[in-house]
Symmetry: C2
Subunit: 277 residues, 2 copies
């Protein structure tokens, strides 16, 4: 549970039953790493949040207000997570967008997660999910509140040594993890799935793509088969909280924690994109 | 807004921020018509709710408790709506299913809706949505809380003379409305889209299908093209609250309010499946 939460600027942990976030999953969210009071990639998160609001026709929250409220929560925080949820607000029964509705702004500070599977820097164990993501080009890329697909994919394993799952779409393309994006390196080329049909356009995913040029890695954003992933030289998963997690096992297949993955992780840390602690 | 709500049996209108219903849309719902204190098609709603819980791996609420709480709210209610929401419950940050979590049970009484477009019995005006439903066979049929697709489809019109929208899937098959199922009659055959890839398996839809035999109508549940719908003799939409709404206009095309539609509506009323007031 969160350490502290602000709902529309007021300290609270309760929300109206009639908020459309609960009734319909009508909203979106951002999850941001906090290190030494600093909110990592804040501008990029706010930009994605605003773009998501535009796509879902949500009222865009004032960004200065968001920044001020996030700062209130992260004051003297060494390490933590800020989760921002924006919902369409409180509305009547029915899907129709209420007129003049104010979006609901929820900002919560969570403790930094503790992992049960050892030090992720040594490489993580990954399960290939049976669940298949649906194609939905209108919602693809948005970090919206309709997350039943992720919940169902994540429900496939209880083995605490498994850190993450790889999820394919119904055409058998690798898309991403349940909570992270996936990259692999093969013959000096950095590959990641294209996400026009489903998936979340991760902030760290974009940072890694931008970084490729600086590291003299060719980047390929395309459809990815499970076979290509399994034949990779190096594989890693990334998001704003985990940073970069090298993969050491996918189902039974072992991978080495490669130099390029380590290089990418260090470069992201140097640019203050991911946590260093 | 609701007249009265019970959360896990306690009168309340506030829910924890950490409920997975809000965080992930991790739950489902039922919407039930109330007439003269009676909850129409109660058994069928509870059966679908339980089946949805099993499919989403949610803890199934005790049905006697649900019945007792619904009765508390509908005591001396002439006409209204009971909405039941079941969420996975309060859980930590992350998609993983918490161990030993208790599902959250929300039951609300809403007033009977007033419509802006005149008497629906005279036939309604319907918009063909540009939004296309995504295929997701795992979630298809379930009345789950991930309703952004319906919100976006419904957001396409603000004209209060339009009562409902018809939504197709990305393969251009007619699926249903934004909040109702759709049927059409052509040459004595009653047709409705099959819903294995998307859509909600409505309680009234099932009642209409069962009724067809009694009314000597051949029933055809199959893929439906917009062209077939537009060439129908009669078209209607149905759900637990609206009952049966004959369609008089789809986009510009006029339809007559046909005898078979009226016959079906009367038969459903006689069987106490839909409201008569």
């Amino acid at each position: 549970m969160a350490i502290k939460s602000l709902i529309n600027g007021m300290s609270s942990e309760a929300i109206s039953l009639f908020d459309r976030g609960l009734q319909y999953g009508d909203g979106l969210f951002e999850t941001i790493a906090v290190e030494k009071e600093s909110l990592l990639c804040w501008d990029e998160h706010i930009e994605r949040l605003q773009s998501g609001c535009r796509r879902l026709k949500l009222q865009i929250p004032n960004q200065d207000t968001l920044a001020e409220e996030a700062k209130r929560l992260t004051n003297s925080v060494e390490r933590g997570i800020i989760k921002i949820i924006i919902t369409r607000g409180q509305g009547g029964r029915g899907y129709a967008l209420p007129v003049n509705i104010d979006s609901t702004r929820i900002i919560s500070l969570y403790p930094w997660p503790e992992y049960s599977f050892g030090n992720p820097s040594d490489g993580i164990k990954v399960h290939v999910c049976n669940y298949r993501y649906a194609h939905n080009s209108i919602l693809a890329g948005i970090k919206h509140l309709n997350r039943l697909e992720q919940v169902l994919a994540r429900s496939e394993w209880a083995d605490s040594s498994i850190a993450e799952g790889v999820v394919l779409d119904h055409e058998e393309n690798v898309i991403e993890g349940t909570m992270s994006n996936v990259f692999y390196i093969k013959d000096e080329v950095l590959n990641t799935p294209e996400l026009s049909d489903c998936g979340v356009e991760g902030i760290i995913r974009q940072k890694v793509i931008t970084l490729a040029a600086e590291l003299n890695l060719e980047i390929c954003i395309n459809k990815v088969s499970l076979k290509s992933l399994m034949n990779a030289d190096e594989v890693f998963m990334c998001n704003s909280i985990i940073g970069v997690w090298p993969i050491k096992i996918i189902d039974e297949k072992p991978f080495k924690v490669g130099n390029k993955t380590i290089q990418i992780k260090k470069a992201l840390q140097k640019q203050n994109c991911i946590a260093t602690l």
